[in-house]
Structure formats: C-alpha cells, structure tokens
Assembly symmetry: D2
Homo-oligomer: 366 residues x 4
C-alpha cells in the first residue's frame, strides 16, 4: 500500500495521466475462476463517465475499458489483470497559463515542489481522470464479490451539496439513479439542480458529502491494528482527489454523543446477535460487525474555476489565474461511483486477507 | 502497512495485550547516528500515562520504556529498535461478566467473531493500552525529526468535548499544558471539568475532537496516489482506538465551501510562495505544501461504562452489562499524545520515503 | 515484493500472457527528472528478442516497447511508468495436446493445480515471454542508474552450457557481443555452437550457467536482514523462468574453502580500503563492499522438446507428449539480458532504499 | 519483506544484537486457535544452541524463549506474538582490536560503511545469534503447520563439509540426530569429526552445504511471479548469515542436464499424478508440485579465525588481525536448524497466501 498501489492481497496499481495516450491499472491477486469480461466492468465506468449532464465536465470520453491480461476464455486465471482505457478527448490545446501558473487549491504546486517536473496537461497524474482506473478495478472486485459474498450490496449517494443536506426522512433508494446527483432525496435533488446552475454560471464551484453503504458484509473483516477495515477505508477515501474528511458511522458527530447514547445495544435475533442501532457504522475495533458498513467523505469544491484567483507561477511571478477548460462545477458528483469502487476494493481485499489469516473461521455466539 | 505494522520506510510493529506481561514495539528503518536514550522517549509516554488526573483511568502504570536493541553507546545504529513497556498494574481480578459478555460499542464481539478466541483481560489487544507503544515509537520519530527537520513542531490539543467546542478566539497555546484536557481555551477547559465530572458521576462517558498541527513540515512530502500524506494520516488516526472520523484542513466543512472561498490564494513572500489561507490543511494532491499540516479526529465515548446496557454473551444469552473497573470517562483526552505521535511517525516516514524516491530534490519557484 | 511486484522503493509489476494482446509492466517509484524515451529501453529488449539466431526460438516478435505514462517531454515525472509490448506473432494454432496434457518439467501442471484454470497458449503467464517486461523495466533502471551512479557497469555472459564451461584464462569481454551465446571465451563459443546444433537436431535441449557482474556499485547498499542485497538478488534471479540455483561470489564452492582461504584480505589503497580478493562477490552481511557484485545462476534445459515424454493430461489419462512449436534449445541464452536487467533493478532499488534510510551517509575509513 | 521483516502474510520481524540485553522477534499474522506454549518452541532452539559440542562456539546461552503476547490460555489469539530470548553470556570483555579493525570476510566493514556506526560487540546485529530468533519464529510456524498440514515433515542435514560430501548410498535419516553435524552418513560424520578437529587446532575454519527437505507440502503453493515459492526460499536461505549459494532440486547441476534427462515424467498413481523423478525439487513455475521440496545452501567458512589476516581499521591503518573469542569452526553446523526454520516459515506463509488468493481451491486431474 505505497506509492501507486493499494491493497494487501487484492492489490491494484494505477497508472496514467489525464492527457497521455491511456490510463489504466494492474489488478493483482484476483482469485481465479471468476467469470469476467469487459461488459462486467464497463457499466461502472459509464456511471463515472464525464459529460453525461450539464453538471459534469464536458470532456467527452468513451472510457472504454480493455482487458489485456489475466482473463482466459472469459474467466480470471489468478494472474494480473491489466485494464486499459485510452484517452480519446485529450485536446492538444495551448496550456499557456496552466503550464506555468499554479491553480490555488490544486496539486499543481505540490507536484512541482516534489518532483521539479510535472505533466501539466489537464492536471496530469493528479487529474480526477485517474479515478476511472479505480472504478475499473472496482468492477473486477465487484465481479469477485458477487461470487464470494452473494448478498453484498454497495450503494453510494450524495447527502450534501454545499451546505444543503438531504432530509433523511425522504430517503428513497430508487431515487438515486434518477437524478444527476445520485441524490436519494428528490426534493434536495431539485434544489441542488438550481443551486449548481447558479454557481456554474457564476464561475464558481462547490463541495459535497458522499455516503457509501455496504450491506451484507460478513462479520470478522479487518486486520487490526494498522490494517483495520476503517483505517483502510479512511485511507481509500482520503486518497480520492479533493477529499478532505472521512467518517465511519456517526463520524465526527460521535464526539457529541455520550457512552450511553453511543452503545449499540445487542439482542439475540433468530440467526444470531442483532444490533439495535448502528452508530458504529458496522465496524468495531477495526473489524466488521455484520451490520451495514457506513462511510462518508467530504469532497472540496473544484479548484479549477473561471473566477480569477491570486497565485504565482514557476518563475515566481504573481498572477491572477482563470482556469479555462472543461471542469466539473461539483466534482463530488462523479466521486460517488469512485467511493463505491473503493468500498468494494477494500471489502474484497479484507475478505481475502481474512481467509488467508484465519481461514474465515468465525467465533460462535450461542 | 498491514496487520500490526505501520509505515513505508520508517515502520513500526506493535505487540502486546493490556494484561499480558508487557507491551511494546519494534521500530525498523530508523536512520543511524541519531542520539537516543530512554530519556528521549519517556516524557512522551508520561503525557499519555493513565492516572494523572481524576479524568483518566485510575490504573497506575509507570509506563517505563526500555530500549532492548538498535541503540549502541547512546546512538541509533540503523538496526531495529525494540521498545518494551512492562505491564505492572494488571490486576488479576475476576473478569466474570466481561469474559463472556460483549460490551456494546466495544471490540469484544468483533474479536470474538473474527478470531474465535480473545484475551478478554482489560480488552486484550484492543485496549487503548496499545497506544503506549505508538507513543514510544513516536518518541523515536521525534528524536530523528529533531535532527533532520530542526524547525518542526507538532502540537495536539482537544477542540471539542461532547458538543462543547472551544472558542478559537481564545486559543492560547500555552494553556494546553495547564489543564488535564490539553485544551487551548481556558474557559472551555473549566467548563469541561464540570461537565465531565457530572458525566463521570452519572456513570456515563463522552466523545471528543482532537486537533494535531505540524508546523515546519517541508513541502513535497507525500507519495501519490495511495500513499498520500493525507491518506496515510487518515489511516494513522483512524487506526487509533475509538476514532470514527478524520479531517484534513477544513475537513467535512469543505463540502460547504465554494471554489472561490476554498482556493488558498498564493503570493510571493521573501522566501518563496506564500499561501494567504490554509483551507487545505497543508496538503494538496496528497503532498505537503509547506504550510502547517492540520488534522482533526473524533473519538467516540468510552464504551466501558457503569450504566447497564443490553447485550449478549458468547453463550447467546441476553444480558444487561455494567462494565466495572477503571475506565476513562473521556478516552479522547489521552488520545491527544497518541495523535501527536502518529503525526510524527507519518511525517518522518514520508520524509525518508521522499528522500528515497526523489533524493529530496525540490522544484524551484522564482 | 509479493505476487507480481518486485522491489521495495523502485517497484515494478509485470502483467501479460504469452499469447494475449500484449504484455508489459508498471514501474513505480522512478525518480523524477531522468531523461527517458523508448529509444533508451528498446536496445535492451532487442538483445533479448527471439529469432535472432538459429539457437533461439523462431517466434518473430518485434518486441517494440511503448511508454504510456510517467514521462513528459522526454523526462520522468516521478509517476508510474507504464510500458507495453504488443504480442504480434501469437499464432492462433491448434493447441490440441498442450491444452490438456502437462509438459514434464513445465509449470503447466502447477498452474493447473493452483488456479484450476490456465491460459495454455504458449505457456500463458509462465512463458519466458514475461521476461521481456523485466528487460523493459531494467531499461528504465539503467537510465536512472546512468544518472545516479555514472561509473556503474553491468555485464552478463554465459559461463557454462551443459557440462561445458568456459576457460577463464581466455576471458575476453569484447567477445561477449560477438557470438550468439554471450560467451566471453571464443573457443567455448565455437564448441557450444556445434554442441547445441547436435542437441537441437536430436530434439533435445540443455541447461546453462549465467554470470552477471556489476562494477562500480557503491558500498553500503543492502537492507539487513531480510532485504539483504544478496537475498534480493537470489530472489530476483530465482524468479526468472527455469532458474534452479543462484550463487554470490564463490557460491556453492565456498563450502569447500577454509576460513584462511576465504578471507578477502584488505589493504589501504589510494582512495580507501582495497580488497585483495573477491570471494565474497562484493557483498558482506548483505551489504555491498564496493567490489564488483558477482552473481551466477543456473538455468535448467527447456522442457518443451520434440522428444516424447511420459505425462498425464487433465482428464487423468497417461499420454506421451511431444511439444511442437517454436522453442529455445537452450533457454539460458536469452536469460543473459534478463539477468542483467534484474541486477540493474535490484541495485537501483537498494540505492533508493539506502538513501531513504541512511541518506546515503557513509562511514569513514581513514 | 523489507529491512528486518520476512514474509507476506505470516510475517516475522527480528530484532536484537549479539551482546545487547536480549534478542527476539515479532510474529504477525499467526492464525488464531493454535495451541502454543514456550515448550513448543524451546526444543527447536535447543537444537541450534551453541556449546553443545566441541565443534560449536563455547558461548553458553540458555536461549530460553519467553512468549510475551499473542497467546492466551495456551492458544494463539491471532494478534502479534512477541518472542524474547535474553542474552545471558555476553561477556563485557575488552573488544580492543575488533572494535576498530574489520575482520576480513565479515560484515564489520559493510555495517561501518553503511551506517557509520555499529555495535561491534560480538558482531552486533550481523552475529549468527540473530538466527535464534528465526528458529523461535520457525517454532511457531511448525505449531501452526502441525495443525494445518498434519503430514508435513521438514528435515535438514549437512551434505558436505569442506570438499567432503556424503555418500547418498549410505543416507540414513536416523543418523542425523546421532552426530554433532546433522550428517545422514555415519562414515562421513566420523571423517568430518577428525577433519574439523584438525582445522580447529590449526586456527582455521571451513564451509559446508546444508540440504533441507520438506515432505508432504501440498501442491499449489507459490505466488508467481515475484513471490514464487523458490524465489522466497532463495531469499530466505540467502538471508542466513554466511550463505553464498542456494539451490532448488538439481540446482546448479541442472545446467549440465539435457531436456530429456531433466523432464520429471508423470504417470497416474492411485491418488493422482505421480512424478517418476524429482529433478525439479518439488517446484515448477514457482509453485509446489506436491513432491518433496528440496533446497540446498552453501555456508562459507567462519570469518572469525585465530590465524592472522591482513586488514585495516577505521582509522585507515593496515593491521594483521587475529580474532579471539568463541567461534564456530564450521558455522554451517548450526545453520541446519536455521534452514529448517526458514523452510517452515516460507511454507506456512505461502499456505496462508494461497488460501487468501485462491481459497485453497485446486485444479482437478482425472
């Protein structure tokens, strides 16, 4: 889990820059014997694809994935799976300002400071385009999970745009796929549409909060103490572009609870212990409880905006920068499928890790 | 960074249970030639030590650290440093209920589910006692950092207890060491004292939010994309017992900002680029900017409380459990030195990783 | 260093099957600012390329490498470098027998036993074709080494074919590039040509011993105790297809030496300590001494031969198998550039690891 | 598998210097629920213990192991197992010469060059004493293997001392435990006794070759391509002090074989495929075949000898050095239990890794 690789046993390494010939990832450690074709991965990529509404970047990318290895006659072989997505809409325009000036709030300056050199075209390696590779890897993880944990269900949605949250009383899972914001609250979705339009026209952008829930996660996943399920989820989500906060269960709000309130009391259900609440977000001591795993993360507003901001360039000159080009007014929207993918990747990784160490043996209750 | 090891190049592995003969950790990858004795580590442990006020557990542990290897004639040799802390106050009392019943909100049940067996004495491996090992490892990291990055300063403090936050207008760094809560706001500290006393007497507990700030962090630290500085901090903090949320800079609140607000504008200062604000918390694209690195995390309330809670035991019987014994009414208090230690460990690890990959070369501005 | 990834800080992950659309590798951790184009890598691949003499497989592969990421305007950026080599001569012939029967001495049967499924076309993942990816990664490592350690020189050659060794008295470095065997002894080369022709016509194959020497390796490289320079070289060479033994310096013959004979005595030279002999092969305690690093490995004979051998197929039927197709009569020949590449990769990895941990500081003598 | 840690999933990290207060190791990733006490580990340590005959160093160490964590009520809990061995016979003598001069053939000089500082007492970290920690870790691995792979049997023995090999026709497994050399050939054992006595009295030392065989290894273990079973064994054995060569099956001799000779032909036995020979040493393509895994390694002669050798000291002065103290005339003898331990550790690690990735599923034959 270093540099460009994520995972313990189910590991993927992403590569590629926004405007290079292609991006992709190598998935290593995939169990053999799982049915897999491009058609299993493509739908997930299509969900993240830019240009599907006026609320996302107008870059047009087919985001067509090719499997170059690791699959034979439609089945995984246990060897590395190479996934490649060609970049088709990388306009070789004049990058003029961006090539030298550093967008405030963007990784331009830190890549420059660290490496002394950077591919400035479209953000290069720090572009959100890299997340397409994660979604592709997530597609592989989902295919494996579908076989190993049939009941597992991962759902991501946006619960806040700017300071406007959803009303949980109106939560409707079916609504999520019906609006461009993956919003489970139809009223909030309508409100956000107007709000984001305003911001967009005002050459501004805004942040968001995404929630990802995994139902049907077996208990016992997590590798204490430094590969805890929640620690790995935190790392996974924080590694997504523009993410600044990660929460499990009650998250930051758990600070305001008392021990009496926070205790998820337990009774015996027909099939074993039953938690009466889920403040813990499905994880205790870094190990899954069997309840839904609930993770939220905050995405900051897109830093590439048409409003001029004060900055400097590599020559040390002070300039006011306007970022032209095609950008998401709320990059959080497209982070939803990415968060889902990371959830799938972390769960599968821990499933394999757990069966490696414990053989998947479970303590009995009752 | 798997199971019980943390870090890429500066790695530590902790071991030990709350009521076993000892706990400790192996620090591997420590640069040679750094002056180090027990006296460099002990003060950090003393800060975390239980029993220093009525607001922490009354367990009395000397928490005396011994260096068993890796140091010769007062200097690190580059070989593994073994740090051991003997457990001296592990009362061999009757664990009766705890041995079989699972405390709601505690890792008891997940360790049981995962491993089928657990050391129930004092929480075993899932006890906050493990954090003493981290603080000891952090002491080693601080000694190295003092040599390699002389200006570096790491400060942790509590900014919220329950729903009661500090007033940042009253922030006084000198105050932090003067109250039992590491609180930088004297008014809040006084308020918390009364509040926590009440809770304690009511057999209850409460959560908290800790903030850790590192000043003087060189720019360029961070290993995109999956070993980002913020991703590793998120993993580090989330791995601390009872932590449920981690934030960098504006954190979850960044969702509510617009792009215009969030952009940390840049001007040229006498010694290079100067950020006018620090919404980013010192990290862009997973790489340090040179500004203070700001990290916050929420600690849930202690789950071991004297108020009876509904639960089950390993026989599958429904019981009402009261957790006797010596417990922190606000375990967040003692998490402050732990958060500082994790910050030091992550920064040093990335410093070494960066000089490995880039040789510490930096891009020039101006 | 697990599954399909090799290296600590300079890590590469290879992917691809012999008869899939392409093979390649992801090089992660490459220092930024190093001049690199396909032209820096291609010459190394050309050395390993099949079909260059009658003594190697007649498969015709251009083995043309493409850099898909990590390089911008001819310079490495510090981000992952994706190298892809398309398979152009993967004849879609009838694999009939091979698809079901297991070649004796080949990985066919173990891949089947482990994974339950395998890409049998041309050996799939276990084909020596995978080594092209290593040679490509090695080309990147060489470009970096050329900048960081200008005096470094890595030379591989064959010292034994079958039971016929070279005469070290006739060792002529210039000869290595002049014959199809990378043989430094012209007399042996002539002898081998006749011998191998005979074997080839007799539908047989033969093993070989390769020696790789690195001159100009700085002292101090190696990460005791389990990432020792020699342990990593052993792992690197043993991971090459068909390798069954690895030696450092005197190797297996050191068993026959006495302590008086084996001690490489030291005197002071004009620029520091000078070893009078090099039984150690440039490595003591897993750390480089500054002397030439000398590594040898034995390659077993190609298992795909035209002589019928007794085996079974996946149906459990006993069959006599003749392996048709295009195969190397002495696969050791093409292992020479692979061994050189692995040497380059291990040395660079340890160079970066060392400067990470120690900052490249060296103890002084004199 | 970096610095002082070995293993993928079953990982151990050793620590400690020859003359510090203690040595030991942390075993992480041990499956839970395995019966384990000090009594399961101690016998293996006793086999490696110095001072048991006149042919090993006269240092008197009880080598008594203590389990400090990870075991509760005699059963492993899945948490890290800390094993500690106190150093009891570290004479604080005058190290005079050794403290400054570098023993030819010893790691003294490379530790100095790498770290600039070293614990010179008894070789410090580079002492063969570190191997006691491996043997202790190996004891844990054996306890787990006894449960998971009941039929597994690991046997190590010496097959060559100096240039004197055993006669395989006289191989008698029962003989191994009867002589101080772990020699399976009673005639050779008698011969070696006289030979080593001579060498010892002549202030000399000698090398050896050790063979370790694991019978009952399940097929399918090994993680191609860079965590191959043989690559990991090569790394494991080469990491043992003084080892200069590692062989699998035919090893270096496989170079002299033809493909017809080398092919291990296969027939169907009553329970599945049956290999007629085992030139491969039980490993094909880095994956176990189910045949005995055969590994050999060469140990160079002890470099600490009483015969004066030319060297330099840290001041750069040329000196003639005689190494006094208690040293093994043939350090290969005590490497036998170490080699066995490494074999056990590698096999268990791959067993867990395999069940993680493939779930232990196996391809069917017949």
């Amino acid at each position: 889990m270093s540099l460009n690789t994520f995972g313990h046993l189910f590991r993927f390494t992403t590569w590629g820059e926004s405007h290079g010939p292609a991006i992709g990832c190598t998935v290593d450690g995939c169990p053999p014997g799982v049915a897999l074709t491009e058609a299993d991965i493509q739908p997930w990529l299509d969900r993240r694809k830019p240009g599907t509404s006026k609320f996302t970047t107008q870059r047009r990318e087919a985001d067509e994935v090719r499997i170059l290895s690791g699959v034979f006659e439609g089945v995984t072989t246990g060897t590395p799976i190479q996934l490649m997505i060609e970049n088709t809409d990388q306009r070789s325009k004049d990058y003029g300002d961006i090539a030298r000036a550093f967008r405030p709030g963007h990784a331009d300056i830190t890549y420059h400071l660290k490496y002394g050199v950077r591919d400035y075209r479209g953000g290069g390696r720090s572009s959100a385009r890299e997340t397409a590779s994660r979604v592709a890897a997530g597609g592989v993880a989902r295919a494996v999970l579908a076989k190993l944990v049939p009941g597992l269900k991962i759902t991501g949605y946006m619960v806040q745009m700017g300071s406007r949250g959803i009303d949980r009383g109106r939560f409707d899972a079916a609504e999520i796929e019906r609006n461009p914001f993956w919003c489970p609250d139809p009223v909030a979705a309508a409100d956000w549409a107007g709000y984001l339009d305003e911001l967009r026209l005002a050459h501004n952008s805004v942040g968001a909060v995404i929630e990802v829930v995994a139902e049907g996660v077996p208990p016992g996943l997590g590798a204490p103490l430094y590969g805890k399920l929640d620690a790995d989820l935190a790392s996974a989500m924080m590694s997504i572009n523009a993410v600044k906060g990660v929460e499990i269960g009650e998250g930051m709000a758990s600070a305001a609870l008392t021990g009496v309130e926070n205790a998820d009391e337990i009774r015996m259900g027909p099939e074993g212990p039953l938690f009466l609440t889920n403040h813990a977000g499905g994880i205790l001591g870094g190990i899954s409880t069997g309840q839904p795993v609930v993770c939220r993360f905050a995405v900051k507003p897109t830093s590439s905006i048409l409003t001029p901001r004060a900055t400097v360039n590599s020559a040390g000159e002070e300039v006011d920068l306007v970022t032209k080009g095609r950008h998401d007014p709320c990059v959080g929207i497209r982070a939803v499928p990415v968060g889902e993918a990371m959830m799938a990747l972390v769960i599968l990784d821990h499933l394999l890790l757990d069966r490696g160490q414990t053989g998947g043996a479970r303590g009995v209750i009752g």
